[in-house]
């Protein structure tokens, strides 16, 4: 008895000790800033930035479009900005998925050496600063840029295409940034795919489409879902790409948050918007978790 207790308590102490750094890190660098944000989001904005310590729940009402004073009218612009951001984030997920899913199969069938080289190429962009890479796209897409010069030189187009400062440029830039984040989880899943199951379904007379839909897709679904979430979350809050490649004409919630804190000097509104993004991310994660739990119980049955 006594010996068992000491072992258990020793183990518990060891566990506490091992978990302490992580807990401390999360507590200090995640929970405290989050708490500050929650508190600030229900305070009155200070005249010159900062906050007044008065209860002021109207920041959330403002997101929904309610007017703050007499001369404003009900106008849900902030919701429509948010919906626009959702759309761009979803498009980013969709296109990067369309690129990465076939590519993952292709890479997984390569020889060991080539495979490692390709994986290295995919992670290569992380070695250069994000702003530099986005700026490079600006140089590629602009009317006198590389792409237009090339197409004109080949005689394919007469006038330069207007690609820069459009929604197209924003989605392109986002897909470019987030492709590696989509690729790696899908690849990890595809590489583990057991081909004997694929062969079994073929032997049992399934058409290629049936094999894909009922065997390959379910088996690689965790990678697809994981990659999609990892892309969706940062895509929703991104503000660099719309500012650079969208010419600030395409606006996402991230741009609005940045402006609230600086030009508009309205920190509480910025904090409320940031919490809105966070809430939608948590919602997506919760849906994913409940679904995962359900499949697990089903699998057990």
């Amino acid at each position: 008895m006594i010996a068992g207790d000491t072992v258990r308590s020793r183990r518990r102490r060891a566990l506490l000790l091992l978990l302490a750094p992580v807990t401390l890190l999360l507590g200090v660098f995640f929970l405290v800033p989050l708490g500050i944000m929650v508190v600030y989001s229900v305070l009155e904005p200070g005249l010159y930035g900062g906050v007044e310590w008065t209860w002021y729940p109207f920041n959330y009402g403002r997101i929904l479009g309610w007017p703050l004073n007499d001369y404003e009218e009900f106008d849900p612009i902030y919701l429509s900005i948010f919906l626009g951001s959702l759309k761009i984030a979803c498009l980013t997920v969709l296109f990067s998925l369309l690129i990465c899913y076939p590519a993952a199969f292709w890479v997984s069938r390569m020889g060991e050496r080539r495979k490692n080289f390709v994986l290295f190429l995919i992670t290569l962009p992380f070695f250069a600063n994000l702003l530099v890479r986005i700026y490079a796209w600006l140089l590629l897409l602009r009317p006198t840029g590389f792409i237009n010069t090339l197409l004109q030189g080949l005689g394919l187009i007469a006038q330069p295409l207007d690609m820069l400062f459009t929604s197209f440029a924003v989605v392109l830039g986002m897909v470019y940034i987030f492709t590696p984040f989509m690729f790696l989880p899908i690849y990890a899943n595809v590489e583990k795919l057991d081909y004997s199951l694929v062969r079994a379904s073929q032997d049992l007379g399934a058409t290629p489409l049936q094999t894909f839909l009922r065997v390959i897709l379910p088996l690689t679904a965790p990678g697809i879902v994981g990659g999609s979430i990892i892309v969706f979350i940062p895509a929703l809050g991104n503000f660099i790409v719309p500012a650079f490649l969208g010419g600030s004409k395409v606006q996402m919630t991230g741009n609005l948050i940045e402006r609230s804190f600086l030009q508009s000097r309205d920190w509480p509104f910025g904090a409320a918007l940031a919490l809105l993004i966070m809430a939608s991310v948590v919602l997506v994660l919760m849906i994913q978790l409940t679904r995962a739990a359900r499949t697990q119980t089903k699998g057990a049955v």
Binding site: V51, W53, I77, L164, Q251
Partner: protein
């Protein structure tokens, strides 16, 4: 900034400050906009007085204010725009440096004392001013003179002009074109300006600060830009032009102010005195291609600058330039209007 964050940052900077004070012998710490002082004159001051000068930079008034309010100590001099000078003085963040009692004050253009809070120059030294006009590519637009022409060109060539990604500046152009003050607090006037800019929006390529490379390459024909762009015009006068549109424009001015908790006030005052020397002011303006507040320095400027109508405009043009005032809570009017412009 108040609250816990403020206190933590405050404590950190108190520690930093006490470390600073121990070694405050012969130091001076400047907190200025990026690219807003000629580095040569900083070096010269440093050598002449044996003072070790450090320079940190910011890119917006709000960014600077937020850091100073958060308790970022250790800085001596800051370069707020006039409306921010007013705010900072009201918030008690500044101390009088009395530039008006220093030798050289007689050279300062008294019309440059634009601050409401500091009409006699007891606190801050006027530094430089400039108009916000249009930088354009002469191969695409041989001569640009007005906002009207700017927007007509945009209508004929959608996407070929840019405006600043700044709510006061760009709505300010709308206010000028609808005949209102750029400091209007009248919701109807702001609504009209919003409608004006909204009408132009489909033809505007981008809202953007960094336009010099795009105008130079001809990706866009014209960009709403600061008078500092004249530096590029002077390097490339065949290709580029800069104009203060004839309907009028906004202008900015920065003052050099001594912070209330400056660790080296004596060196800071020496530096203000140094900045008032005509030849120093002239060399600084040559680099900044901004309007000069030092009347004695104007004569020392190279002809290209002295005769440039954007840098040294006539009294008639100057009368059409409007400076921003702080709007306090009414800034919200502009924020909403700008959010709608960006969204729809």
């Amino acid at each position: 900034m108040k609250g816990m964050l403020g206190r933590i940052v405050g404590m950190a900077s108190v520690l930093a400050l006490s470390a600073n004070m121990a070694a405050a012998e012969g130091k001076l710490s400047l907190y200025n906009w990026g690219e807003y002082i000629n580095p040569e004159i900083v070096d010269e001051f440093s050598k002449e007085y044996g003072v070790e000068v450090t320079l940190d930079t910011y890119s917006t008034n709000e960014e600077m204010l937020a850091r100073i309010q958060a308790g970022a100590s250790g800085y001596d001099l800051v370069w707020p725009s006039v409306h921010m000078h007013d705010i900072m003085q009201q918030l008690g963040l500044l101390q009088p440096a009395n530039p008006n009692q220093m030798p050289g004050w007689e050279n300062i253009d008294k019309a440059a004392l634009r601050s409401h809070e500091d009409p006699n120059g007891d606190y801050c030294l006027p530094y430089a001013w400039g108009a916000v006009g249009v930088l354009y590519n002469k191969t695409l637009i041989p001569e640009l003179t007005s906002w009207k022409q700017f927007f007509e060109y945009a209508k004929a060539n959608p996407g070929k002009v840019t405006m600043l990604d700044d709510l006061r500046e760009t709505l300010g152009v709308g206010l000028i074109m609808t005949g209102a003050s750029v400091n209007s607090r009248d919701p109807d006037e702001v609504a009209k300006a919003e409608a004006y800019i909204m009408e132009q929006k489909p033809n505007i390529g981008a809202f953007r600060y960094d336009v010099i490379p795009l105008v130079t390459a001809g990706d866009v024909a014209a960009g709403h830009y600061y008078v500092g762009g004249v530096l590029n015009v002077l390097q490339n006068p065949e290709l580029l032009g800069f104009v203060i549109p004839e309907e009028g424009a906004t202008m900015y001015q920065e003052d050099v102010c001594l912070l209330a908790n400056a660790p080296n006030p004596d060196n800071a005052k020496l530096f203000l005195q140094f900045l008032m020397r005509p030849e120093v002011a002239a060399r600084n303006s040559e680099r900044l291609t901004n309007g000069v507040v030092n009347t004695a320095a104007v004569d020392l400027l190279p002809d290209a600058l002295k005769s440039n109508p954007s840098i040294n405009p006539t009294a008639e043009v100057r009368a059409k330039l409007q400076i921003f005032e702080d709007l306090g809570k009414d800034l919200r009017l502009y924020t909403r209007a700008w959010d709608r412009i960006k969204t729809n």
